[in-house]
Amino acid sequence: MKKIYLDYAATTPVDKRVAKAMEPFLSEKFGNTMSLHSFGQEAKFVLDQSRQVLADMISAKPNEIIFTGSATESNNLALKGIAFNMPKSRYARHIIISSIEHPCIIESAEWLKSQGFEITKLPVDKYGMVNPKDIEREIKPETILVSVIHASNEIGTIQKIAEIGKICRKKGVYFHTDASQSFGKIPIDVKKMNIDLLTASSHKIYGPKGAGLLYVREGIKIVPLLHGGGQENGLRSSTVNVPAIVGFAKAAEICKKEMRPKGYPENKRLTSLRDKLIKSVLKIKNSHLNGSPPTNFEVKAGGRKLGLYPASKLVGGKSQNRLANNANFWFDFIEGESLIMQLDLEGIACSTGSACSSFKLEPSHVLLATGLKPQEAHGSLRVSLGRFTTEKEVDQLIEVLPKIIKKIRKISPFK
């Protein structure tokens, strides 16, 4: 049985071209970027080159990019780095985040709370949207940072980042966004969008695991999490992971060339696959869509009819607020872990926000924030498409899913 991977939001395979670009830096060009000799120079040169490529992706300057080991590290560095930037934080100790952040933001914020900081969690609407006006209202003189995820890893909702950026800049508060799911997929311009700090990840865009970055606007001071040899301008000591960073840059370059040229062909392709999937899945009895309605057909979300949405330009995230590759559903009387494992037995890999599949036995905080009840969130299914997804694979899921749902409901006392 050929396996079908539809969990690209979790991680992606390394693109062969990326692996090829990395290879020389694993063995022959293995130098330490801090060494003075030719081996070190070679490593330093390619590090600078990679930094330039990644900075260009978001219209930043190379000296504004700090390489890290993961998006989790970048997010920790953003929050804690700003929070502990004394002396300002001595009196200004308020941080605003959204209620649908990734756990690495939420847990960092919770920890800062234990260290005496005040945290405000913003609510979202039923589509997972933060209202920028809420941010404007919550900002007070003590506020030092606002952090809002650019695109949701669970439901794909894309936030009004430029609007939030504008508000924060006007109020003189730093604005951080976790762009792990959007970087490389939709255009980001940190200058135009007034973004002060931004997190991006390599393994979500067909690069290797173990590389992330934090963009910090020139002039903003943060404190490092790691002290040592002074790499990355003293903000992230550690021997630089050159092969992973080379891969990260190559992966970004491919995204720019293939996914984001004029007309956004890759987003268009994924959007049409995703919409076909959504249309078909919503035909299943008692099925619902999570997140923003995508296109020009009538859809239901949480049992509510959402009406018709215009088939406006489904490109680049400009006129839609859902990632092209994300679909998320919930089904009445279905438990997600069972659903995922049944799909896995059919060779299809997806993901769920069910409590039973998490370490804490709590359902997805994102789905709860959009107004779902826990028993509804248990029945959620996330399907995330990617570069190597074919229409045949999506068709396979469309064929198998109704049968599996029927089977699980047959076993359930609720029908």
């Binding site: 069972s338 039973c356 009840k373 826990p374 047959k410 006392p413």
Partner: protein, 165 residues
């Protein structure tokens, strides 16, 4: 050095037997005119297990079926308990413990142990239901177990009232 497997992680750590049982569960469905029904769990938590029993001559549980809403572990433990109970007398069935279930499944992730407890509780409730419906004598031990199950059920139901109403 002996490496210790982290039992708190689910997903990849289900045993082959658990996955096989999950794929092809035995004895699922409803028994019409069941002699006893045990209903445990809460939908907000994510597991609900209903057990139906049919009791024959000499207090032998001649048929048993389950209906379960829940994860892989909940469905597997439901199926296994029906296998363990079928054909046994009530007295023998009441001796089945969560450890018997876990053993029959070749192990469960620790985080899923509560599913095996749920299966045992469902059986106790079904037998209790059978005894009380037929006005049979209920041992102090069974009564106590029933009360503990009901008490914790009430606490959970109350805790999650806002979601279920």
């Amino acid at each position: 050095m002996k490496t210790k497997i982290n039992n708190n992680i689910c997903g990849g750590l289900y045993t082959k037997k658990v996955l096989e049982t999950f794929k092809n569960p035995h004895n699922y469905g409803k028994i019409k005119n069941a002699d006893g029904i045990g209903k445990v769990g809460n939908i907000v938590c994510g597991d609900v297990m209903w057990l139906y029993i049919k009791v024959g001559k000499d207090e032998v549980i001649k048929d048993i079926k389950f209906e379960t809403f829940g994860c892989v572990a909940a469905i597997s433990t439901s199926s296994i308990i029906t296998d363990l109970v079928k054909g046994k007398t009530i007295k023998q069935a009441l001796k089945i413990t969560k450890d018997d279930i876990i053993k029959s499944l070749g192990g469960l992730p620790k985080i899923k142990y509560h599913c095996s407890v749920l299966a045992v509780d469902a059986l106790i409730e079904a037998i209790y239901d059978y005894f009380s419906k037929n006005k049979k004598e209920i041992t102090a031990d069974l009564k106590k177990k029933h009360e503990i199950i009901q008490k914790s059920k009430d606490i959970i139901d109350k805790k999650y009232e806002k979601w279920t109403k």
